[in-house]
């Protein structure tokens, strides 16, 4: 069940010049949250942030009833969120959207995140592992400076890295990494979230090898709960709402993918 709730910021940590990680605690027991789901967050006090902002759930800490968000400062809304301080309250609607599918035990999965698109991959990797799937992370960024801290991912599984400037890992795009080439055939499924061109390139490689590919789309949203029909994506079945029937789609369902 979705709810609208005021949570309390318990931590706001800057991880590099573009990203912060915010922990927000609920007074109640968290509802069940699946990897790929997101929140709609109200940006208080912004003259130009009238609508809520959709943000993926990066991780949850059930012991503390905390939701963890990874936020990239890109415009006014995210800049204001990045300024939140411990003790501030934030107004969330959550949990929203569908979830990544979990393949059968023993299979391997590739999790490809680019830029802020790595956000849902952390929780996904953990849950996959808990379900006996072998996750492989592949994270891409423009440069080492704005890559995520890798520790949390490495705790779960091996992490492949690409940077456009070659400052860490393989120089190039995620599709240039061996995980996306030599190793791709071993995978049961590829998950990807990030800039549109990246996701399309990943989906193309997966398609070539006939591997199932799930993408998490970042369409513009007004309501996040299926009421406004603004966030549609063109599927073989007509327009579907990214906020309720997504954000995760099997690329086979999507038109022009």
């Amino acid at each position: 069940m979705k709810k609208v709730e005021l949570l309390t910021v318990t931590k706001n940590r800057r991880i590099n010049k573009e990203y912060v990680i915010i922990h927000a605690a609920s007074n109640e027991k968290l509802p069940e949250i699946f990897p790929g789901q997101f929140v709609e967050i109200k940006v208080e006090n912004g003259p130009n942030t009238f609508l809520r902002r959709p943000i993926s759930i990066h991780e949850v800490d059930e012991s503390k009833n905390e939701i963890i968000l990874l936020i990239q400062e890109i415009g006014e809304g995210s800049r204001l969120l990045a300024k939140l301080r411990e003790g501030d309250t934030i107004d969330l609607i959550y949990p929203l959207g569908n979830a990544f599918s979990i393949p059968s035990k023993g299979s391997k999965a590739l999790l490809v995140g680019g830029g802020v698109g790595v956000a849902p991959m952390l929780i996904l990797g953990r849950v996959l592992k808990e379900n006996g799937v072998e996750p492989h992370f592949l994270l891409g960024a423009r440069s080492k400076e704005i890559l995520m801290e890798l520790d949390n991912y490495e705790k779960i599984a091996e992490v492949g890295v690409t940077t456009e400037d070659g400052s860490l890992g393989i120089k190039g795009f995620v599709t240039d990494h061996p995980l996306m080439n030599e190793k791709l055939g071993e995978m049961e499924i590829v998950y990807t979230c990030g800039p549109d061109p990246m996701m399309r390139a990943v989906a193309k490689k997966a398609k070539e090898k006939d591997i199932k590919c799930e993408v998490s789309l970042e369409n513009l949203m007004a309501c996040g709960i299926g009421a406004c029909l603004c966030c549609v994506v063109d599927t073989k079945d007509g327009h579907k709402c990214t906020c309720t029937e997504g954000p995760v789609f099997d690329t086979k369902e999507l038109k022009e993918w």
Partner: protein, 304 residues
């Protein structure tokens, strides 16, 4: 105890707070957040005779204190509504209105005829003001003769409450309000969205796939309140006011300007519980101001 009940030309609503079409789905989307039965009424998503895919993505852009949308009446058609949706929502103990749109007068008539048969739908809202479709929609609503023609035609086949939704994109909204009153509209609702546009300056491209779209949210409130007041001074049928209502104060502002009821649209996106807060806020205001009957607010602006 304060009385919140209002009378919409013979149709009783338990309170003056309704939801606006296209912003509240079919009510079901909000069941997790509020009890739909607490509302005065709901207007469900715009319905047309045939299935419509709506406009391509992108369909929305945020603007200062508002948003543009270009949904374009995506819906599965009236038959699907009757067979699949109506059975699921007819139990709501609130006034359910179907927002009816069309490309031709014949479409409007055929859709209204079908909805006339539904026991638990006490009224339709005739949408002659949608700015997001190429044919019909707003084209009907911005000229008096066509607005009158479509209302008159639907009036002949539709026997229950006929609310006509007016476009703000006109020189004189009272002319059209009087026109549709003259041919039997039971009430008018206003405003639909203002025609607007935004450009993504970095990409040098329109923000919406359709270039222009409909503006809603608090930014339009001053225009909406003005039009409600103008129409209040021009017609006798009740007015349902909307445009940018975010809280009880805004709702009361519309009532003081002449609205018998209000609809809340875009605000549902910001706070899915806003409707209930507005109802509670109206009660508080009435208590504070010693007003026992909400009907006292209607047109209650004091002019010196």
């Amino acid at each position: 105890m304060v009385n919140l009940g209002i009378d919409l030309n013979g149709l009783s609503l338990k309170n003056p707070v309704m939801t606006a079409s296209g912003t509240f789905g079919f009510g079901e989307e909000y069941e997790d957040f509020i009890n739909i039965d607490d509302l005065g009424g709901i207007v469900v998503k715009g319905t047309t005779l045939h299935h419509r895919e709506g406009n391509p993505y992108p369909r929305m852009a945020e603007t200062p204190s508002g948003m543009l949308n270009a949904v374009g009446l995506q819906n599965k058609g009236v038959d699907y509504f009757i067979s699949d949706i109506y059975p699921r929502i007819k139990h709501y103990k609130t006034g359910i209105f179907v927002n009816v749109s069309g490309s031709t007068i014949e479409d409007y008539i055929a859709t209204a005829e079908k909805i006339n048969e539904l026991e638990h739908i006490p009224g339709i809202e005739l949408n002659i003001s949608c700015p997001n479709v190429k044919e019909g929609g707003m084209a009907f609503g911005v000229h008096c003769p066509s607005a009158v023609a479509v209302t008159e035609a639907v009036r002949k086949v539709y026997k229950k409450h006929l609310m006509v939704k007016l476009s703000p994109n006109v020189t004189d909204v009272t002319e059209i309000a009087k026109g549709v009153e003259g041919v039997g509209a039971d009430s008018v609702s206003l405003i639909n969205t203002l025609l607007g546009m935004a450009i993504n300056v970095e990409k040098r491209k329109p923000a919406l796939s359709t270039i222009t779209g409909g503006l809603s949210g608090p930014c339009v409130k001053p225009v909406a309140v003005r039009m409600v007041w103008q129409v209040f001074n021009a017609v006798k049928i009740p007015i349902v006011g909307m445009g940018g209502i975010m809280n009880a104060y805004d709702a009361i502002e519309f009532m003081l300007a002449g609205a018998t009821a209000v609809q809340i649209g875009t605000a549902n996106f910001i706070d899915p519980t806003v409707t209930i807060k507005v109802i509670d806020g109206i009660k508080d205001y009435m208590t504070r101001h010693n007003i026992s009957d909400v009907n006292e607010l209607i047109g209650g602006m004091i002019i010196e």
